[in-house]
């Protein structure tokens, strides 16, 4: 049986006056690429933050390598985070540091490695994402796709066991998208890590994911392999996978009668 690196167990979470998750359970087996899909605002990114321990669940729990995330002390949580790497939506590179220093940042902060060792590792990681030649550039000189690849090199700097990707394809051109797609799969298999990808790009995700969870209305609406989901007859999944504008998710935001709105109450 494959061991689950991350497990989400009956998790509920909400902000002040809005419930986001109502009892979600998911499992992320070791060495697999698992995607979490769903519409905008369905709480996908929040799930990553719950796994990373940046938010506390209101009920249920998240376990990373068997340890309950929200019950950790600060030091315990930081130890757990050393096992995780996260790629943020816009890269989140430190704008005052060069590409090289960005990738070196976690090594300098968290290890006692010598500068020459750090140099080798940084170039190695940058080479893996194809940007060794850009090591002296500043983040402002990079295109969106390049920035995300540098951020990816930084996220794998300390060889995490788990990689989390938050909307890795948002706002990228088709070439950069294909590059990131390929990198997610290659890094996952070459480094033997477990990847969690939060996204709403159907075609790209279906091409590389091993397993997919669909989140809608705070629950797991469907799950399965890409092939299972492509053939799904569930109305929501059908609408999402085929990108239809109307369906269970309506085109119009809930409101009153159109005619009455235009002509006033006496109409």
């Amino acid at each position: 049986m494959t061991q689950n690196i991350v497990e989400i167990d009956n998790l509920s979470f909400g902000y002040k006056n809005r419930t986001l998750h109502k009892g979600i359970s998911m499992a992320f087996p070791k060495g697999k690429v698992v995607a979490i899909m769903g519409g905008s605002g369905s709480g996908k990114t929040t799930l990553l933050r719950l796994i990373g321990g940046q938010f506390k669940p209101s009920a249920g729990e998240v376990r990373v390598t068997g340890e309950v995330v929200h019950k950790q002390s600060r030091d315990g949580l930081y130890q757990l985070r050393r096992k995780m790497g996260m790629l943020f939506q816009q890269g989140a590179l430190f704008t005052d540091l060069s590409v090289y220093d960005n990738v070196a940042f976690p090594m300098r902060e968290l290890t006692d490695l010598s500068e020459s060792m750090i140099r080798d590792l940084v170039l190695l990681k940058l080479h893996a994402v194809g940007l060794r030649g850009a090591h002296q550039l500043m983040p402002t000189e990079l295109s969106g796709g390049m920035a995300r690849r540098v951020a990816l090199a930084r996220a794998i700097a300390l060889d995490p066991q788990i990689m989390m990707y938050d909307e890795p394809f948002a706002g990228l051109d088709p070439i950069s998208m294909a590059v990131i797609c390929d990198l997610i799969r290659t890094l996952n298999d070459a480094l033997g890590i477990t990847s969690i990808v939060v996204t709403h790009d159907v075609e790209e995700t279906f091409s590389f994911a091993d397993y997919i969870y669909f989140v809608a209305d705070g629950v797991v609406a469907a799950e399965g392999s890409p092939d299972d989901l492509r053939q799904s007859t569930l109305p929501f999944i059908h609408q999402f996978v085929h990108g239809e504008k109307d369906g269970p998710v309506p085109f119009h935001y809930a409101t009153g009668d159109y005619k009455q709105d235009l002509l006033g109450p006496e109409a």
């Binding site: 940046q54 930081y78 985070r81 050393r82 996260m86 939506q89 976690p106």
Partner: protein, 258 residues
């Protein structure tokens, strides 16, 4: 009416909450300050950004303030036939009040806003979150070095302000108006007390340094991660810092004089 009361109440609670959150950040920052002293180059880098980059505005302002003080002082003092006391007047006004206060106000406008905008934007672009997820505490790595840099920079800037101000006062009083140079300096030397005047001025500037930097850091750290949020936070930094400096100045002066 009910709405007005409700808004008043909610604003009041909001302010109390922010005060608590600010206090909490201050506490956490102090606890994580060890890192800043172990890697002092982080602080030095921030001293450059907050302190060295404020030198021009501080020097030019100090020069003009000193010149105006001398002009105004002479105008009044000569009515009493004691225009030689102009040196004392300029020095005491600068060392005890204007040096620390005006420096802190300029610091809030020049360096404080820069700190708030930088931290607010780091938050908006998820740089602080990224640091958290890398198991690096943003409070230890980003907030604490900036705090200590501010606390170190402000007293030095205030001292420079007083010095350049006195120089400006001298240029107006002695070469321009014709007050005796010997009287200008000797009166100043005889009447400015090391502890009562200079040390108290230094204490004030340290307190202002803590207040201005902490307000700027908290506003940035607490800013909603949007363009509007950061712009509001920057404005609030200037308003809150200025009011805090003036109020603290009154409180400190009353303790020091009584």
């Amino acid at each position: 009416m009910i709405n007005f009361l409700r808004n008043l109440g909610s604003n009041f609670i909001d302010q109390i909450w922010r005060l608590g959150a600010g206090g909490r950040l201050f506490g956490l920052m102090l606890i994580s300050s060890g890192e800043s002293f172990r890697r002092f180059r982080l602080v030095v880098r921030e001293v450059y950004f907050t302190g060295v980059n404020s030198l021009v505005i501080i020097s030019v302002s100090a020069f003009f303030v000193g010149m105006v003080l001398a002009l105004q002082g002479y105008h009044t003092l000569q009515k009493y036939g004691s225009s030689e006391a102009i040196g004392v007047l300029v020095a005491l006004a600068l060392v005890r009040e204007l040096g620390p206060v005006v420096t802190a106000l300029l610091f809030a406008g020049r360096a404080g806003t820069a700190i708030t905008a930088e931290i607010g934007l780091m938050k908006a672009t998820e740089q602080l979150s990224a640091m958290e997820m890398m198991a690096v505490s943003p409070i230890a790595r980003v907030i604490a070095p900036r705090f200590w840099a501010g606390v170190i920079s402000l007293p030095i800037l205030a001292a420079l302000f007083s010095m350049i101000g006195i120089l400006g006062g001298y240029l107006v009083a002695v070469p321009l108006i014709g007050v005796d140079a010997g009287a200008f300096w000797s009166q100043m030397q005889a009447n400015v007390d090391w502890q009562f005047d200079i040390l108290n001025g230094v204490i004030k500037s340290v307190v202002f340094g803590v207040a201005c930097t902490m307000i700027a850091l908290f506003e940035g750290y607490d800013a909603p991660p949007t363009a509007e949020g950061v712009s509001r936070a920057t404005t609030r930094t200037v308003v809150t810092s200025s009011l805090a400096v003036l109020a603290l100045d009154f409180a400190l002066t009353s303790f020091m004089i009584i």
